[in-house]
Structures are given as structure tokens and as C-alpha cells.
Symmetry: C2
Subunit: 136 residues, 2 copies
């Protein structure tokens, strides 16, 4: 079971926290009423995907004792022009230091892509999503 908590602060800002008390602020663009004081919620889907795959790949490359010195990931994503402006295309660009053999990082990528990455799998097969309301 994964669990996260959000609490509205002011404007369109929320404080976000997890079960281990890590916390950060989310906000949104000024053009839609925010104050840009934190990450936008829409960007966090991309972070979730890239973080999941990056973490898998680093973990696998370390187990292989690859000479990993640097990994940088840039995610670029296009959204549909009309509401709900869902993500239509996501491109994940992964840069790795040249000392890591191609066969090793390709294998690490394949294992994450085909077997381990929970977020990629969630994006491929829609989860069941329910909502509940409480007033007090």
C-alpha cells in the first residue's frame, strides 16, 4: 500500500507529504492562478516515470559493477491542445557516461522497461480509480 497526503495552503498551493515525513510544495503557473512557488502536479507524473526507471537502471548497473559515474535524464512531454490536455507523447532521454558498456545499459533499460518499472506498467494499463468525500 502506498499513501500520500496533500493539504491546501493558500492560492493554488498544497503541501505534500509521504509516510516518512518527506515534504514539499506544489503550485502552478501564474496564468492559471498559481504563484509558481513549487513543482506543478502535471510535471510530477514525468518525474515519477523517469525516477522509477532511473532508479531501476542505477540499481541494476551497480549490481553489474558497471563503471557508472553519471546519469542524467530529461523528460519532454507533449499534451493535447484541448482540455483535459492529457499527455499524448512522452520522450525520456537518458545520458550515461561513456565508460558504461552499451550492452550493460541496454540490458538495464530492458529490465526496467519490461519487468520492473511500476510506473511505466501503470501508464500502460489503467488502474481502477475511486473517489471518496468527507466534510467536517
Amino acid at each position: 500500500m502506498q499513501k500520500v497526503f496533500l493539504k491546501w495552503i493558500d492560492g493554488l498551493r498544497f503541501a505534500v507529504s509521504d509516510e516518512n515525513k518527506h515534504s514539499f510544495i506544489i503550485d502552478t503557473k501564474q496564468e492559471i492562478g498559481g504563484n509558481e512557488t513549487g513543482f506543478q502536479p502535471v510535471d510530477l507524473l514525468l518525474v515519477s516515470l523517469a525516477g522509477c526507471m532511473g532508479l531501476d537502471m542505477v540499481s541494476i548497473l551497480k549490481k553489474k559493477r558497471s563503471d557508472l559515474k553519471n546519469m542524467e535524464i530529461v523528460v519532454e512531454a507533449e499534451r493535447g491542445p484541448e482540455h483535459p490536455k492529457r499527455y499524448t507523447h512522452i520522450t525520456v532521454k537518458i545520458k550515461i557516461n561513456k565508460e558504461v558498456a552499451e550492452v550493460d545499459y541496454q540490458r538495464a533499460f530492458e529490465l526496467s522497461h519490461d519487468k520492473y518499472c511500476s510506473i511505466l506498467a501503470t501508464l500502460k494499463t489503467p488502474p481502477d480509480i475511486k473517489f471518496e468525500f468527507v466534510t467536517e
Copy 2:
């Protein structure tokens, strides 16, 4: 176009940033090799969904001049037992102060759910996802 950046730090930690230089750390559980110094990537999908809907709802309730004083969202999600342990069930629990009329928060919810929330729409209709590698 949305764009995010991740850079591996050490262990299984990455520094995450957006185009406006907001930044935070992601990490993972000790049992899979992390040090628990930041949010887990898998949790950020849930934050993305709840943040997107919370932000929509606050925005709509403010436009309606509802007496919104408090909104708290808890997301609980179940994952499959085997790799890739994708999210199978997500429950979003929204608590609002009782001064907000049910008809108002229900309408705000419906507008987010049916029209505005980019993340909910992305979770319902899988995006095209591509990967590119660079070594240097």
C-alpha cells in the same frame, strides 16, 4: 511542452528539477538499496493525480466564491503482488470543510474528473512513450 530534469547523485538518489528551477530529492526504501532521504518515485504518480484534481477543485470553488477553508487529500493505492507491481487500485479521499455546499464541491469534482484533470485523462488513455540514449 512539459520538461523535467533528473540527475543521479549517489546511492539511488536523484536530484529532480523543473524549468523554473524548483528542485527536490527522490530516493527509495532501504530494503531495495535506498536511503529514504526523499520521496519515492512511485509515490509521485499519486501526488501528481491528487495535486492535479485538488488544484482544479480549489480553482473552481474559488471562482464560485465558496467558503473554502480547508482541503485535505489522502491517496491510498494498491499495487500488484508481482513485478512490475503496477498500481491496480487508487483511492482518492478528499476532505473539505463543511461550509462548502455539497452541490458545489460535487460540481467542482465533476469538472475536474470529466473535463480538466490532465493526469486522470493520461491514466485512462496510455500516452506514447519513447526512449533515447546518449553516452558521453
